[in-house]
C-alpha cells in the first residue's frame, strides 16, 4: 500500500508506504545488498564486481515513477494521490567497512559529480518538483544498512521544509536586495567565531541559530542556486570541505560520527529561484561522547529546538580538529 495522504492540520503530504516495513534490517555479514556481488556468493543489488559509484532505484521506495493508485478513497478533508516520485540509493564506494569521511577526497569529488548528474537528470522529469539529496549515517539516526551510501528523493511537490526556506530566502531578497546566504556570510566572516573551515568556494560553519550542538552548514561563497551551477573547480572545493568537516566530526569523540546530511538545492519546477542559494546542512545527534540529542516535546511537537550548547564553543572545538586536505 502506498499513497500520499494530506494532513489538513499542517497543510502537507505524508507518504504511507507499508511495504517498507519489510525492508532489509542489519543484514548479517556477507549479505549486504549494497556490496558488489561476488561470484558464487549472495546476489546483491550490484552485479558488477567493481565500480566507482553506483546509483539504483530503491528496492523499498517511498515514491515510485509509476505508482499504484491509492489503496484508500480520498475526500475533501483527506485528499489522497499516488505516491509518484523517484527514490534512488547512491552507493559511495564498494568498500563495506568504510564511510564517506574515510574516502580519499578524490572519491568524494567523484561523488559530487554523480550528485550533480543525478540532480540534473531527476530534475528534468516532468513530474518532479524537488530533488532532495541526503544521507542518513549511523544507527543513532536510524540507519539499517551500514554500507556507505546516501539517497535521493525526487518529490512531486516542494517538501514543507523547502517551502519554508524558499519563502525565507525570497522575503530576505525582497526586503534587503541581497541573497540570504550572502548576508549570512558577510556577518559570519566578519565575526569568525562560528567558522569551522573555508576555502575559495565554500565556508563551513556552525550557525548562530544551531539546533543541534554540532549542526554544521556549508555555504557557497558566491551565488549558486544548485549543484548544477557549480564548476568542476567548485565541486573540488566542495569535496575538500566535505572531507575536512566529516573527518573532524570523526575526531571529536573518536567514533564514526552519526549525522543526517541534507543538501538544499533550488526546486526543479522551472520557476525563478535567483534569490535562493544552494547549501548543505548536517544534523549530528551526538552532543557528547556518550549522549544524544533527542527530538522530544518542544522539537517534535512545537517545532522549537532547544540547544544546550553554545555554537561558538562547538565551532571552536571542531575547528581545532580540521586538517589540510591532501589530494
Amino acid at each position: 500500500m502506498s499513497e500520499l495522504r494530506w494532513n489538513p492540520l499542517l497543510g502537507e503530504w505524508t507518504v504511507t508506504a507499508t511495504h517498507r516495513q519489510d525492508r532489509t534490517f542489519f543484514p548479517p555479514p556477507g549479505y549486504c545488498p549494497l556490496c558488489p556481488t561476488i561470484a558464487g556468493g549472495f546476489p546483491t543489488e550490484i552485479s558488477e564486481p567493481s565500480y566507482d559509484i553506483v546509483v539504483f532505484e530503491n528496492k523499498f521506495p517511498s515514491l515510485m515513477p509509476d505508482p499504484p493508485e491509492p489503496a484508500v478513497d480520498g475526500s475533501d478533508l483527506y485528499p489522497v494521490r499516488p505516491a509518484q516520485g523517484v527514490c534512488e540509493v547512491v552507493v559511495y564506494t564498494p568498500d563495506h567497512n568504510s564511510s564517506l569521511a574515510d574516502q580519499p577526497v578524490s572519491q568524494i569529488y567523484k561523488l559530487m559529480q554523480v550528485w550533480q548528474d543525478r540532480f540534473k537528470d531527476l530534475g528534468e522529469l516532468d513530474f518532479v518538483e524537488y530533488v532532495y539529496i541526503f544521507e542518513n549515517k549511523g544507527e543513532a539516526v536510524g540507519v539499517t544498512l551500514p554500507h556507505p551510501h546516501g539517497q535521493i528523493y525526487a518529490y512531486p511537490f516542494i517538501p514543507p521544509r523547502l517551502v519554508q526556506k524558499v519563502n525565507q530566502f525570497r522575503e530576505h531578497k525582497a526586503r534587503t536586495g541581497n541573497n540570504l546566504i550572502a548576508s549570512l556570510l558577510h556577518v559570519e566572516k566578519k565575526n569568525g567565531e562560528r567558522i569551522v573551515a573555508e576555502n575559495e568556494s565554500f565556508t563551513a560553519l556552525i550557525p548562530f541559530f544551531a539546533r543541534y550542538p554540532f549542526e554544521l552548514h556549508i555555504y557557497p561563497n558566491t551565488h549558486a542556486e544548485a549543484l548544477t551551477d557549480l564548476t568542476l573547480a567548485q565541486l573540488r572545493d566542495l569535496a575538500s570541505i566535505f572531507k575536512q568537516v566529516l573527518s573532524a566530526f570523526d575526531r571529536l569523540f573518536d567514533v564514526s560520527f552519526p549525522y543526517i546530511m541534507s543538501m538544499n538545492n533550488r526546486p526543479s519546477d522551472g520557476s525563478d529561484y535567483s534569490f535562493f542559494d544552494f547549501h548543505v546542512e548536517f544534523y549530528p545527534p551526538m552532543r557528547t561522547a556518550t549522549k544524544l540529542k533527542y527530538l522530544a516535546g518542544s522539537e517534535a511537537g512545537a517545532g522549537m529546538f532547544i540547544n544546550d550548547t553554545l555554537p561558538e564553543e562547538k565551532a571552536s572545538e571542531l575547528r581545532r580538529l580540521i586538517e589540510t586536505v591532501v589530494w
Partner: protein
C-alpha cells in the same frame, strides 16, 4: 607541485555512466566510472537515459 599534478589528473578524468535494467526487470541501476574506460562517454549515453 605533486599535489597540483595529482589534482589536474583528477580533473581530467572523464565521468562515464552506464545504465542497465536490474534483474527484477523494473528498476534501473547506473554505474559511474571515472577515467579511461571502454564504456560510452557521458555525451554518448544521453540517449540511453
Amino acid at each position: 607541485m605533486e599535489n597540483e599534478e595529482n589534482q589536474q589528473e583528477i580533473v581530467d578524468r572523464e565521468m562515464h555512466k552506464r545504465r542497465e535494467t536490474m534483474p527484477d526487470g523494473r528498476r534501473y541501476i547506473i554505474y559511474y566510472t571515472f577515467g579511461k574506460v571502454e564504456t560510452e562517454t557521458l555525451a554518448e549515453v544521453a540517449e540511453n537515459v
